[in-house]
Symmetry: D2
């Protein structure tokens, strides 16, 4: 009997970085959480406790702050890329580096209709994300959004589905449709304006959700992905994951009341999950 | 030895209600979580298991949906009041009813700059709250807001504080100040426009936070409460609770770098908490 | 118009302390979370930003570690008391100090049936708690337990309750009863063995829950409190809060199956909450 | 421009099942959370909203309850397998089914040293898991454990690691090592006693962690995996993921105190993560 280490990976999670971008009196605010993973020639560390090639995860954390100070943050995708390159340049031990960054949105406070120079109010749970994997095989990057929570009160149904003896769900042609979109997409070209493209993708996801006559979450997911590919030329592929945040019509008939799609109970468990990947071409 | 029941209270928590308010094609959306507590003459239930006076918490839940259907939701404070009155009117057993309601904000989707009739995007973690306690002694109500997250990148210091041999904190005249405001206030008069007053209180909390030259969280908390009492005549008293969401300046000197208030680490634990109540007069 | 500060309180939350108690080769492990609040003559700080009497919450945190090192932790109640005394002795500004401590349980690892000297495995979500309030009016202390999760699969019913037209719940004489007990109690005398008494209270809470023929959560709560007062002489008063962690019998009749209390769905929302305080005498 | 659906998957998450296993007076308790995913020939549903082949996620939920009633739960791995087979047998649309099950542990209450027939106390955060993927390509199963929290107060160091100008971490030959083990393993043969094997794997993970002289988390992870492969013949491969739950020695020197590994602060963010896969042979 012998045991072989067939895969390894290590790094730092939940590195919290808040950067203030000063432009005279006017301050910008970036609120990021960074995750780093290295893999490669680390067998001696795992097997023998030989740490000579192990770059400490504490130094990974330091690197995030030092690079943010030296070069600023800029587009999330570019920051993730610079970090990944930095870690591979440190040593020959890692053969691959993966960096994932998530950004929390803040809104500038308005006072008497004018933007305040340095005060911000916390935004939604929504996060912008970016991920870069760098190895000898090249670079793979993706942009994304998580917890983009959207809801429509009509133009959504679910009917004519497969039934068997374990089916009790009724068909409906009018229900609430709600989800927390998780989207990850990759770009085809190299000269992408990441910030502008991200805003376009987000806008089209929301508008496609709002305008679609939905026959199912699957149906709406496809329409959203199709719209992004149609409208944002730089996007090559998009993965979507959409939990069904069920809103059940409350049966008020025991109380002698009707309920024409007015009173719902939002439920957290169990929940459906729909996933799909769409590709250009 | 005998044991006496000296206090009792029971009810339902986490009743989730989503109400669609239909005005022709245009739909409104209300997303509420309701909590109910009754107390009173329930000793036989606790002591002997005699349930004859126990109104089931399941019926409390049903009541929330039935009343929402019958009368609509309207202002949060009014909905809490109607529910409390409803529960006390059901039976003579409870001598007091407490109803707390929390509302999640949703924003209407815009498509090409125009508001969509029935699609919404999830708002921030911020919640509007209302609470009513009703008993023979009368009614007590309060309005509130929780998780109003605000941050300013300057105009905040903390210096000249008390020191002893266990003090290692350095004075600073420029730091990030961030908090998640929890505010609860009561109105003096009876004819209050709850929705308009709530918006005004929120606006003044945010503007006072933004504009204040802060010497401490205590100092800013007081300025915020003072501003609300000065600007919103209907408010009689306001309680504020403001955790200090610490953002620590990263020491980059080991790497030969300065850090002129640009790169911070946001920390979750431990955290300071500052509370204060201000009253008119 | 003038605003008066009518209440104030500030302090530190989530101070995490892990203490290793070394007894030769054998190590003990204490895992505590501490919360501190001071109130008193702090008006100048709130109103004017005069920090001269403000003891920093950072120094409160330091104090927790320094006192743990100097005197050890010992019984949770005694540690909370020493901390409260320490904070009041620092300065005349605070007139009251409140310290709450929560302890996470760890179990010693066994290897081949023998206790390991320094390895531990994480225990349940249950926490032992203690709280001390110290002021000129004297000291008030309480001991407690939170998230003591218990469940019984029978010997529990809920029937013959109050009904009205909004009641749809059916009576049952056999259901699952599950709760996460939160108990807080105070001792009458002064020479209490806190650790021994705590273990006794916990044991009687669990045994009373297990052995009771429950007609309702209220009924079981009362039996649990009564048992503690009967069996643990030092306890003067006990407050209990017991959420009803509903387990609903699944209706399998649409599939031609019966369900004699075998298959349940555990639900998280909404949930009932039952509270009661019992006092000796 | 055309968009192709290149991957699809849908199902139900967070299906909560509590099953009472009755053996006369003595009851057993199983507390499971089930997750189901189907993928296959669903393009018409996504693209056109044609639901005729879409088996509702609500029926998936019903199936969990009906199968638990009909056949009982038994070993977690076998239950997951039966569910996966059930879903593939329903229709030709899905070409693959994935079922993941997680079990929460409960401990039987003891009264006066004797096991109670039907009362239970909630166990730790630890969960036993099983996952089965079934497709034309065959079946792949894995067993696992998540949130197995372990800590040792000594016999752990981290020294002689790679350094550069961004490294500030100091070497240590004595620190607290704590982690929440996530392990997933597969069996080589077919006639495995899943319950017995799971207990053996868990025991060896804990004992190897306790007994190892750790030079790093990587080193301990490898020792744990190696031990499992050495001691549990049925295991073919094991994946381990071990976050480093950092416990930092508090610097008490500003207060004139030493701290010989006695007082630590447990930190939640940031945290290291170490992963590795070991295979027999």
């Amino acid at each position: 009997m012998a045991a072989r280490l067939t895969a390894n990976r290590y790094g730092k999670s939940a590195v919290r970085l808040v950067a203030v971008e000063r432009d005279g009196e006017r301050h910008g605010l970036r609120d990021l959480t960074v995750e780093i993973r290295l893999s490669g020639d680390f067998e001696a560390a795992y097997r023998d406790g030989d740490n000579r090639r192990v770059y400490p995860t504490d130094s990974m954390k330091n690197s995030v702050y030092a690079l943010a100070r030296r070069d600023g943050v800029g587009a999330l995708e570019a920051f993730a890329r610079r970090l990944a390159e930095h870690f591979l340049s440190r040593s020959s031990a890692p053969s691959a580096a993966e960096v994932a960054v998530s950004e929390r949105p803040w809104s500038r406070v308005e006072v008497s209709g004018r933007p305040h120079p340095h005060a911000f109010v916390g935004g939604s749970e929504e996060r912008r994300t970016a991920r870069v994997e760098l190895s000898e095989a090249g670079a793979r990057g993706e942009s994304g959004i998580v917890d983009l929570v959207v809801l429509k009160t009509t133009d959504s149904g679910f009917a004519d589905f497969a039934r068997d003896e374990l089916t009790t769900l009724r068909s409906t042609d009018d229900r609430i449709l709600a989800t927390a979109v998780e989207a990850r997409w990759s770009y085809g070209g190299s000269a992408v304006d990441f910030d502008a493209a991200w805003r376009e993708v987000r806008r089209h996801l929301v508008e496609a959700f709002a305008g679609h006559r939905s026959r199912s979450v699957q149906h709406t997911l496809h329409a959203m992905g199709e719209r992004v590919l149609a409208e944002v030329a730089a996007v090559e592929e998009i993965q979507l994951r959409m939990p069904n945040l069920h809103h059940l019509l409350v049966d008020l008939s025991p109380f002698g009341m009707d309920n024409p799609n007015q009173v719902f109970v939002a439920t957290a468990e169990p929940f459906g999950v729909i996933e799909g990947t769409l590709r250009r071409g």
